[in-house]
Amino acid sequence: MSPSDQILPHGRILRYAFHERLTHWIAAGSYIYLLLTGLAFWSPWCIWLAVILGGGQVSRMLHPWAGLIFTGAVLKMYSMWSTQMRSTEADKKWWDSIGYYIRNEDDKMPAAGRYNAGQKLLFWGFITCGVLLLLSGVILWFPEYVPWNLRFLRYLAVLIHPAAALLTIGLFLIHIYMSVFAERGAFGSIIRGDVSLTFAKRYHPRWYEEITGQATSPKK
Amino acid sequence: MTNGWIDIKNTDMMLIMGGNPAENHPCGFKWAIEAKRTRNAKLISVDPRFTRTSSVADHFCQIRAGTDIAFLGGVINYAIENNRYAKDYIINYTNAAFVVDGGFKLPSDTDGVFSGFDAEKQSYNRASWNYAGGKSAPSAGQNGAPPPLPPLPEKVDFDPSLQNPNCVFQLLKKHYSRYTPEMVERVTGIPKEQFVKAADLYTSIRKDGDMKKAGTIIYAVGWTQHSFGTQIIRTAAMLQLLLGNVGRAGGGVNALRGHSNIQGATDMAGLYDSLPGYLKVPTPADASFEAWMKRITPTSSKPAQWESFNYWSNTPKFMVSLMKMMYGDGATKQNEWAFDYLPKVDRDYSWVNLWNNMYNGVVKGLLTFGMNGVAIGPDSKKNIDALKKTEFLVVGEIYADETSEFWKSPGVTQDEMKQIQTTVYRLPCAGFAEKDGSFTNSARWLVWKNTAVPTPGDARLDQAILAQIFLRVRELYKKDGGKFPDPILKLSWSYTDPMNPSLAEVLKELNGKALADLEDPATKVQIKKGQQVPGFGWLKDDGTTACGNWLYSGSYTEAGNQTARRDPSDPSDMGVHAGWGWSWPANRRVLYNRASCDVDGKPWDASRKQVWWNEGLEKWVGNDVPDFKADSKPKDHMGPFIMNPEGVGRIFAPLAAFADGPFPEYYEPFESPIQNPFHPEQSTNPVVKAFKTADDKLGTSKDGFNVVCTTFRLTEHYHYWTKNNPMNVQLVPEPFIEMAAEMADEMGIRGGERVKVSSARGEYVAKAMVTKRIKPMMIDGKKTYQIGIPFHWGYRGIAEDEGKTSRMLTNALTSTIIDPNAHTPEFKGFLVKVEKV
């Protein structure tokens, strides 16, 4: 897609193409299922989640399959986005200025491209944890096939799986918060695909420049 | 067993050889464990393989299969050399002090045979195997028959100092002085130190002349199944006499029977040359009942100043009572108690001879019940070939077995099948839980069991099938007459249901009853005509009693079925349990128990009192039933071995007792990797005659048969039976061959790979079990391997029918060589070659 293709009528910019949105929602859907059933296995206090979702046995049966779907989607994301997610010099500055970001003083932030450094962290976090979850998950799926003399693998798996899951939960919460509550317009973009020029200019100025060829207003 | 299962708990020392009770008798073996747990008893296991029994042994020796006499002879030598024998015991209770005829020669003096050997006939003239002493004149042979053996002297010369060079003890000492530890190592393959450790441990019970401790010898068919099997057991008996272990709680010579009722089968004339109760069968030479009785009733033979009870002098009472039971009013004094009705046994009708006769077309048909003839006999091919020649075969079984499907055995072609004309009848029978009756266990205990489940489908009880065959044959005789109908027509058959005799009624017959009012002259106790006799002491030779088996007399009295008693109490805590079941003879648990006391009648070990002389009552009393004349005073010096005419135990077995020697001599198995180091020119048992059919072949090391092979059983399976039961099949799914890890390495065989074992007679293919439990041996300086094969599989069964086995029989490998005394085949110890498949 050339930058000019992404400029839509009525002052909109295409941020996510259909296949990107679809992949995202496959990942999101399976992740939410994994999260809910995983929480049920995590703590007796959450077992009611599994009960709502069809009972413990069904949850245990479907959880690994959902995991495979999630991993598939994450791999697809990797193939789609990994080049765009490379860390740049600007990202370092972005992290240096993270305090402004938290305080919603975005105008004091270094200009971000299509993805800001935080989004890149989210991406790489999910990729890494996804791999860890897959590997440990396979072991947990079939513990009886892990030979007794390789049992340390089982022991590692029971630790890695929840630890990796907890990391993704942290990322997930921030992701939801940012996209649904903090940056209005972001949620719509992953559903309909487009954002307003203002949105692009505000949150992803360098990306805006790439698409439109226009410089954003100079920094104060 | 001279003793019994539970009695093993009283022992201090166990020598287990030629048997693997932990494997094959796990329930009885609890008493061996009990002895270890409660008495700190020691267990020595001597076996060709390190077995389940060896796993709980305190000392293990790996022996070459079939060399047990060398080992035991070595222990006898060790005991004598180290003064570890029971001196008082052997002087007073054995024939150690008896002086032997001057004409008797040992194998060390006569080229590996005893005196009297006739090389041409391969048999002995045993006249010189006798005691010295006052003799009655030998009777001349009648009608050209060879002269019968001279009788035992009435008064035997004896030397209580044991110094006479011709006394039994000195001969024993001389004979076994050749069985040095070095010689034992050469023959058995057991390293000298290990053998000496075993001999030292076993004889340690007689250290410093102590008589308190007792040692037991436990064996099974690993001893019996050799061309000298009887003599192995003899050697054990002699060792036990020498150590004063016979008659003692925790002692004895203890045969473990391989089936629940083998003891009962033997007691009830399972052998062709005996009648129930071990009465000897008549032969064509016995012209009359009286002549027969004279021949088989011994007269006492003892030092002049001793007494001998000579219990077999009652033989005519037992025999007349047996005839009265069989023929009732048909047996009278006038017709010599129906002596003519009895078949006269003219030759060897033992198992292997029977099948040989079938092979040669002499025997035309066969009825088999409770066994799988093709599989259990040696040389399966010969057995199958024999059945092919029969006109009919009747098999009573609960499974489709190898015998009833012999014509489907592997290797029989379609064309050949068409040639086989045998009519086979397979009759569905009842399994053990589907019938009642008694089992006589190894301890001689008769224990009654009830029917647990009804027979399925058309299955019938064995006795119902046999009764119906008998009744129809009798019908035919009645209708058509015949050459000699009387033995059939006059047979007493007075069961409530003649078509299906109740086994309780049969047991009542065995116990015996009074045919007239009787009175015991000593106690004035009376029994009425028709009542059950209380025991064999009541049996008469005048036709006033009937008894089917004198040994079983007392098992079903007026007080009811004694074998069904279930009183577990044991006041003496010696494992007597006098109220549980009933054991022959007369509910005695330990045979010869008079020998558990010293000459004065006091127990050797006061903590294990079996019987003793009560001076006040002037009677023998005890925790067990005294196996002795109850009122014989110790000072009369009656011998405790009341079944021998000598009254004492036989270290030297005189005259006709054994076919192959009064002392056991070591001979090699017929197939052996070496020549006998004792006398290479007489390597094997000289009186054993091999069969000569096309199927009877022997292999030698020169032909490449250089691996010693033995067969065995597994806990998980029961003979050729449980291969039909999924539970047992799950436990051990497939046949296998046990071999040493070193041997497998040399041949490039890994565990689980298939190997072929072949003997001169046949082959067997199964997976290899490569184990450290068998080690290579040095036999007479030659590195020799030994393998073992469990024999539970055949060509019918779960694994067989699923095609998971080679469908072969282990006994395809074994030979028809038999022991000259017991006629048992040489299953344990033959030569094979082993190849990778």
């Binding site: 703590s43 007796p44 046995q57 089982r154 029971v158 954002v195 | -």
Partner: protein, 297 residues
């Protein structure tokens, strides 16, 4: 013994208190296995199959007398056969009946997330309740003895119940009942420990086993199955009996600190984000039109 001994004292995956937590333990039951008198006859294997009505499974010859390599979901009691050559060249054929050890601190129960799938009764028996099992297999990982096994068809895990059904009726477990040599005993833990120590002493004093001893590993709080071993310093010889078994550290870490840390982090994260929103609100609050503009397209 009465049904009271089957009062549940510990429950897996359970939120809130357990009914029997404060039940007074009359005594803990215990199985004693004297490996020095075991002859490997497999009567216990058969008795276990028969009493528990376990279906037959296929086995294959594997160069051993052992029925199968390890216990199965439908084969809870397996004698392990091991050949061991001693330094003096003599051989030992070690036989050890292997089954659930009924640990006082069961790793399976600790690892299990399913409410009531694993329980420990007041008498010490650790029992699986297959109706509640979700088939996650965490118990397999939690067990230091490799005992729980999954039925791949029903996706439920099974193991020896110590015949809790028999024990509650005052009977000994089926394996004990069937043992012909008396190498198996059953009773209270105290009695079995006494008996075991006595036997070990006998082996040290009267037999050639100076290292004989009792196996009752402290790492899992002691076990409801204790062994007498010829050489207690080398339990590994008996088919890999662990010298110092304990619930895997990772399971402890996971069920302990990690769980608390995770819970705090998750709840803390949620609260933090909520507070952030309260304090700072959305990033575009100074530009109310941004969304409407987008919406107009």
């Amino acid at each position: 013994m009465s049904q009271a001994t089957l009062r549940v004292q510990k429950i897996s995956g359970h939120a809130g208190p357990v009914a029997g937590e404060d039940a007074q333990r009359e005594f803990t039951v215990c199985k004693l296995i004297d490996t020095t008198t075991c002859i490997g006859c497999k009567a216990c294997e058969v008795a276990c199959m028969e009493w528990n009505d376990l279906p037959f499974g296929e086995t294959v010859f594997d160069n051993t007398y052992q029925t199968m390599p390890e216990t199965r979901w439908n084969y809870w009691n397996l004698i392990l056969f091991n050949e061991h050559e001693k330094e003096d060249g003599s051989l030992m054929w070690l036989m050890r009946k292997n089954q659930c050890m009924h640990c006082a601190e069961p790793g399976c129960l600790a690892a299990c997330p399913a409410d009531g799938a694993i329980v420990q009764y007041a008498n010490g028996i650790v029992d699986f309740q297959q109706a509640n099992c979700i088939g996650c297999g965490y118990c397999i990982t939690g067990c230091p003895f490799d005992i729980p096994k999954m039925n791949p068809k029903t996706n439920r895990v099974f193991k020896c119940t110590l015949c809790s059904d028999r024990v509650s009726e005052g009977l000994e477990p089926a394996c004990i009942k069937s043992c012909p040599t008396g190498c198996l005993h059953f009773g209270s833990k105290d009695d079995m420990k006494d008996l075991a120590e006595k036997r070990a002493r006998q082996l040290r004093e009267h037999y050639d086993f100076p290292q004989a001893g009792v196996y009752d590993p402290a790492g899992v709080g002691g076990t409801g199955v204790v062994y007498v071993l010829h050489d207690a310093t080398k339990p590994e010889l008996y088919g890999g009996l662990p010298a110092d078994p304990h619930v895997p550290w990772s399971v402890k870490l996971w069920k302990g600190p990690l769980k608390w840390l995770g819970n705090v982090a998750m709840v803390g994260g949620l609260i933090g984000l909520f507070v952030h929103y309260l304090r700072f609100g959305p990033k575009d609050r100074d530009d109310e039109n941004i969304n409407t503009e987008g919406g107009k397209s």
